[in-house]
C-alpha cells in the first residue's frame, strides 16, 4: 500500500533527495504533502531540544549518536545559557535592522545546529551532521508536530516539560529514517 513519489528538488542541495511516502500507517494526517514522512536520505539528525520562552528546557531527545550524553541538569544549564546568549546575539547585531533576530545557525567542526524561535518565544534546536543546509525544512516540520501533538494534547500543561507519547512517536518516525 505504499506509494512513492519523487518531488522536484528545489532549494535543496542536489545530493539530497526527498522521497515522500504516503503510508496508511502514518497517523499524522496533515493534508496533502504533509501526511507524510519526508525522508532526506543524506541527513542525520543528532538531537532535538525545545526551550520554553523563559529558557527552560522542556524537551530533549537524542536520535542518532553524535553528541555527548549529558546529565539532565547539564542540559538544563545549557538551555539556560543558550537562552541568554541567543538574546545577546541579536543585541550585538552590527547592522541597522530594527527587527533583529538572534542566532539561527551555529556550526562547529562536528555538528551544525539550527535554532528556530517562534513568534511566541519558544525555541526549537535541531542538532545535525555538519554542513547540512536544509535544516529549515526539518525545523518547520518539528514545529508542526509540536503544534499538533503537544499543543492539542489536553494533558499537556503549557510551558512544562513535554511527556507526550504521540509527539515522541511522530518525531521518531519523521527523523529516524534520515540516516
Amino acid at each position: 500500500m505504499l506509494r512513492h513519489r519523487q518531488l522536484p528538488v528545489h532549494s535543496l542541495q542536489s545530493s539530497i533527495i526527498i522521497i515522500i511516502v504516503i503510508s496508511p500507517r502514518t497517523a499524522d494526517t496533515s493534508s496533502l504533502g504533509l501526511l507524510i514522512g519526508i525522508i532526506i536520505t543524506t541527513m542525520v539528525v543528532y538531537a532535538v531540544l525545545i526551550l520554553n520562552k523563559a529558557g527552560g528546557l522542556i524537551y530533549q531527545r537524542d536520535f542518532n549518536p553524535g553528541l555527548q550524553k549529558l546529565s539532565s541538569n547539564d542540559y538544563l544549564i545549557l538551555a539556560g545559557t543558550f537562552h541568554g546568549v541567543h538574546a545577546i546575539t541579536s543585541q550585538i547585531s552590527p547592522t541597522n535592522e530594527t527587527s533583529s533576530s538572534g542566532l539561527e545557525v551555529l556550526e562547529s567542526e562536528n555538528f551544525v545546529m539550527r535554532c528556530f524561535q517562534t513568534l511566541t518565544g519558544t525555541k526549537f534546536l535541531i542538532f545535525a551532521e555538519p554542513r547540512q543546509q536544509n535544516l529549515d525544512v526539518v525545523v518547520r516540520r518539528v514545529y508542526e508536530l509540536y503544534a499538533d501533538y503537544v499543543m492539542k494534547n489536553p494533558f499537556y500543561q503549557i510551558e512544562m516539560p513535554i511527556r507526550s507519547e504521540g509527539f515522541d512517536r511522530h518525531l521518531t518516525s519523521y527523523i529516524k529514517p534520515h540516516q
Binding site: 500507517r25 497517523a27 499538533d148 501533538y149 492539542k152 499537556y156 511527556r163 507519547e165 512517536r169
Partner: protein, 226 residues
C-alpha cells in the same frame, strides 16, 4: 429517560418516535424570543446547508481538548471522566441521529435488528460524522449481548497522549456516547465503552464495546422466532 443536559433545542424537529429528545411543546405556542427582522432564523435556513461543510480538524481538537480539561477538573478518577465525555457524546449523537434520519428522507428506514443497527452505525453514521467507515464490526464470542466496533484511529484521539498514570483512559468515550445515543434513539438501549486496543500498525486503535440491555436480546429472540 431524558439524558440530554441541554437547555437548547436543535433546529431539527423531525423526530423519530423513539428518540429521547426533549419535548417541543412550547415551540409553536408562546415564545418570548426575539428574532432579527433582517436575518433568517434557524427555522428559515435549510437543514442541509451545513451537510457538507467542513471546519478545521484543529478547531475541533482544541475544543475537544478544552472540553476534556474542563471535565477533568470536576471528576474523581478516570471512570468519572469517561462518563462525562460519554454524556457530551450522547448529546451530540442524539442530534446527529435526527439530522441523519431527516436527510434520509423517504428512504429512511427503522432498523429493527441488532445487526442492522450496528451496520447503520459503523457505516452511515460513521461516514456522516467522520468521513470514513468504522474498521471492524464483531460479535464478542463469549457474551451473547456484546458487540465490538473498532476504529483504528479515532478522530478525537489523533493528538491526544494519555499520561501513564491515567492509562485506562480513552477519550473515545465521547464517540462511545454518540453510539449509545444512536442505539437509544433506535430503541436498542445499551452501554457503550471505549477501550484502547493497539496493534503494531495502529497505536491508537480503539474498540467500542457495546453491551445491550437484556430486553433488546429478548426482542431479538422473538423476531428470530417468528
Amino acid at each position: 429517560m431524558n439524558r440530554d443536559p441541554s437547555p437548547f433545542r436543535t433546529a431539527s424537529t423531525a423526530s423519530t418516535a423513539t428518540s429521547p429528545t426533549p419535548k417541543y411543546a412550547n415551540l409553536t405556542a408562546s415564545t418570548n424570543l426575539r428574532y432579527s427582522l433582517t436575518r433568517k432564523s434557524i427555522y428559515d435556513r435549510h437543514l442541509n446547508r451545513t451537510k457538507t461543510s467542513e471546519l478545521s480538524k484543529s478547531a475541533f481538537a482544541f475544543l475537544f481538548g478544552e472540553m476534556v480539561q474542563y471535565a477533568q477538573k470536576k471528576v474523581y478518577g478516570v471512570q468519572d471522566l469517561e462518563k462525562k465525555l460519554n454524556l457530551h457524546g450522547y448529546a451530540v449523537g442524539q442530534r446527529f441521529l435526527e439530522l441523519l434520519l431527516w436527510r434520509d428522507g423517504r428512504t429512511a428506514k427503522r432498523e429493527t435488528r441488532i445487526l442492522g443497527i450496528l451496520q447503520f452505525i459503523s457505516h452511515q453514521l460513521y461516514r456522516a460524522i467522520f468521513q470514513k467507515q468504522a474498521d471492524t464490526l464483531e460479535k464478542v464470542r463469549e457474551n451473547e449481548d456484546e458487540y465490538m466496533i473498532s476504529d483504528n484511529d479515532p478522530v478525537v484521539n489523533t493528538y491526544i497522549s494519555v499520561p501513564k498514570e491515567m492509562s485506562q483512559l480513552n477519550c473515545g468515550a465521547f464517540i462511545a456516547g454518540i453510539i449509545e445515543a444512536v442505539l437509544d434513539g433506535h430503541c436498542f438501549p445499551a452501554k457503550v465503552t471505549a477501550h484502547t486496543a493497539p496493534n503494531e500498525m495502529w497505536p491508537g486503535r480503539t474498540v467500542f464495546l457495546i453491551k445491550f440491555e437484556p430486553e433488546v436480546l429478548e426482542r431479538e429472540a422473538l423476531r428470530v422466532g417468528s
